[in-house]
């Protein structure tokens, strides 16, 4: 009969198996810790990524929208909540003449309540490729040539990645390019040139969408994107625009992103604080647990010493036990966190109402490694005191206590 050698490692595993409740408690404590460490870090980094992404990609310094529509605009950009609003195109010309304005480009918003791709309304954004400085650079980078009439550029969350076209108002429009994920409302938007948006507008009108009555896409726009001259600051130019153009609201994009950063600012701190507190708590709970169980197991260790185990081996048994249980807990916790944050990242982003962009695989692996390391470390660290105590115990006295 061949049996596996009884190494210190195997002895530790046997000990863990024979004390299922204690082992399960240890695993559960570390699993919760690993869940918070990994899940919280991914969440925090994703939110930071989302904010950075929108800041990097959004080239406009100011956005001019009709009075009282600043929140609607922010919702379109940040949360992907479709909306529409219009004002006179003449405002764009007035804006272009204001001191400190370097470039302008206009956009026209349309929403569709029905499309064969989606069960929710989609934001349609018409832009002028010749003047645009916010979307066109992405399209050039992704598509490599100009967008033709009838072609669409879609956000990363619009339809399946294999889709070649979308049907709006009974007409099929080919997808020319798909933008990379930004973690913002732009991911759920469809972009096209002004000729195509006019065609879509007519389609919507023909489909009986009453809310469009009274709007003329030739004379109306939804927003004016403003790039300011490098010698001016956003506050001054925004003030100029407000002073000279009535019925408009000027959104300073930096302020908008600062708002997000402020909202976001406390969340990562909170998540890190929770993680640190939980780590300390887990270490404290496990320290107490090991201290109590080490006391209960004094005779077991004394017997091992009698049989010839060195002090180092006794400590090794306890440290191995704590390491193995922590490893199991760490892996379970991380797996559970991954099962929540990755499949439900869109939902989490929506619920938080903040731009959410999952980090690159290398960053995820880094967070994974750190979370596992901290989870694996907590057990051996918590058991270190008991391991030292057990290894220093006088066998003779321990055996006498049992008499």
């Amino acid at each position: 009969m061949k049996q596996a050698p009884l190494s210190i490692r195997r002895l530790s595993v046997c000990n863990l198996k024979r004390r299922p409740f204690r082992t399960a408690c240890h695993i559960a404590v570390v699993a919760v810790l690993a869940f918070v460490l990994f899940g919280g870090s991914i969440l925090s980094v994703s939110l930071k990524n989302g904010t950075r992404s929108i800041q990097e990609r959004f080239g406009a310094d100011l956005i001019i929208v009709p009075q009282n529509y600043d929140k609607s605009m922010e919702s379109i950009l940040l949360k992907g909540e479709p909306n529409y609003f219009y004002f006179d195109q003449a405002i764009a010309d007035q804006a272009a003449r204001q001191e400190g304005v370097s470039r302008i480009s206009t956009q026209f918003f349309l929403i569709t309540l029905k499309a064969d791709c989606c069960s929710v309304p989609i934001q349609l954004v018409g832009f002028h490729p010749e003047t645009d400085f916010t979307i066109q650079p992405w399209i050039s980078q992704k598509y490599g040539r100009d967008l033709e009439d009838g072609q669409l550029v879609v956000g990363s969350d619009v339809a399946d990645s294999g889709r070649k076209s979308l049907t709006f108002f009974n007409r099929q429009y080919p997808i020319a390019a798909r933008l990379e994920k930004t973690g913002t409302g732009l991911d759920a938007s469809v972009f096209t040139n002004m000729n195509t948006i006019r065609s879509l507008f007519q389609g919507a009108k023909a489909a009986g969408m009453g809310f469009l009555s009274g709007t003329d896409p030739e004379k109306s726009i939804s927003s004016v994107l403003v790039k300011i001259d490098s010698h001016y600051d956003a506050d001054t130019v925004a003030h100029n625009i407000r002073s000279h153009i009535s019925g408009v609201q000027v959104i300073k994009t930096r302020s908008m992103f600062t708002g997000i950063s402020n909202t976001l600012g406390s969340l990562p701190v909170f998540l890190y604080a929770i993680s640190i507190a939980l780590w300390v708590l887990a270490a404290a709970v496990l320290t107490v647990m090991f201290s109590v169980t080490a006391n209960e197991r004094k005779k077991e260790f004394a017997v091992l010493r009698i049989l010839g185990a060195t002090r180092k081996k006794l400590a090794g048994i306890l440290l191995n036990e704590s390491l193995f249980a922590s490893m199991a807990g760490g892996i379970i916790g991380v797996a559970a966190a991954a099962a929540v944050v990755f499949p439900f990242n869109v939902y989490i982003g929506d619920r938080l109402g903040l731009p959410y962009l999952q980090p690159q695989i290398s960053v995820v692996l880094g967070i994974l490694a750190l979370s596992l390391f901290l989870s694996f470390l907590v057990g051996p660290l918590a058991s270190a005191h008991s391991a030292i105590k057990i290894s220093r115990a006088e066998t003779y006295l321990t055996m006498r206590e049992g008499e």
Binding site: R18, V303, I306, L307, G308, M399
Partner: protein
């Protein structure tokens, strides 16, 4: 000579005063010996055994095992000595409940790096102590006498030169005590020296030497004649 102690002293402190639990013990044990040390509780028997096992450091004197003074060895070396040169059957229940009977017996073999597998040897020892059928059983399923026999089999796994037993029959009934003592006699006959500490006079007749311990000092006695079961002992514990 397998074991030799010279002027062995172990003092303990009680409050501000120290007292000798072992007081100038000179003991020699050869490979053929089955030595019984008898004495009252607190006479220093277990302390002497723990000194010889390297679990305690003597206050003074020396403990030579095959010519090596074990009191001067570091933890690694004294642990190896305890693991390979001696087998120790501690007082009371000492079988690890986390392991099967077989793994308990195999365990000392793996505490230091050795070639080969201890399973066959462990099974053979379990067979010798009459527990072959219980190899895969949990210690929780065994009686007190069976557990003691597991301890003895475990103490023999590394072919020790000296088997030490601390009150091996203290909590066993008369029949089980006799079985255990017969087992010790067979082990002794197979060439393993035995040093047994007991306060049960009935068991001393199984060995070839009897020593009494009183207040830390050791005295060699004449071996009783009609044991086991005999009525006449050449000594009595003093009240």
């Amino acid at each position: 000579m397998l074991l030799q102690t010279k002027g062995l002293v172990k003092e303990y402190k009680r409050g501000n005063t120290s007292f000798p639990a072992v007081n100038g013990v000179d003991l020699s044990v050869s490979s053929e010996d089955f030595v019984s040390i008898v004495g009252r509780s607190g006479s220093g028997k277990s302390t002497l055994l723990n000194l010889i096992a390297g679990l305690l450091k003597p206050t003074s004197g020396s403990i030579l095992v095959e010519g090596v003074d074990i009191s001067s060895l570091n933890d690694e070396k004294v642990s190896l000595y305890r693991n390979s040169k001696i087998g120790y059957v501690p007082q009371g229940q000492s079988v690890l409940s986390n392991l099967t009977v077989l793994d308990n017996v195999r365990l000392p073999f793996y505490l230091f790096k050795r070639e080969g597998d201890a399973t066959e040897k462990a099974l053979s020892l379990l067979d010798q102590v009459g527990l072959a059928d219980l190899a895969q059983a949990s210690p929780r399923e065994l009686s007190g006498g069976e557990l003691r026999r597991v301890s003895i089999a475990r103490a023999l796994i590394n072919d020790p030169a000296l088997l030490m037993a601390d009150e091996p029959t203290s909590d066993l009934d008369a029949q089980t005590t006799a079985e255990i003592m017969e087992l010790f006699r067979r082990i002794s006959q197979n060439g393993t020296a035995i040093l047994m500490v007991t306060h049960e006079l009935e068991t001393v007749g199984y060995g070839n030497r009897v020593l009494t311990m009183d207040a830390g000092t050791l005295t060699e006695r004449e071996k009783p004649k009609d044991v086991p079961g005999g009525a006449s002992y050449p000594f009595r514990f003093q009240a």
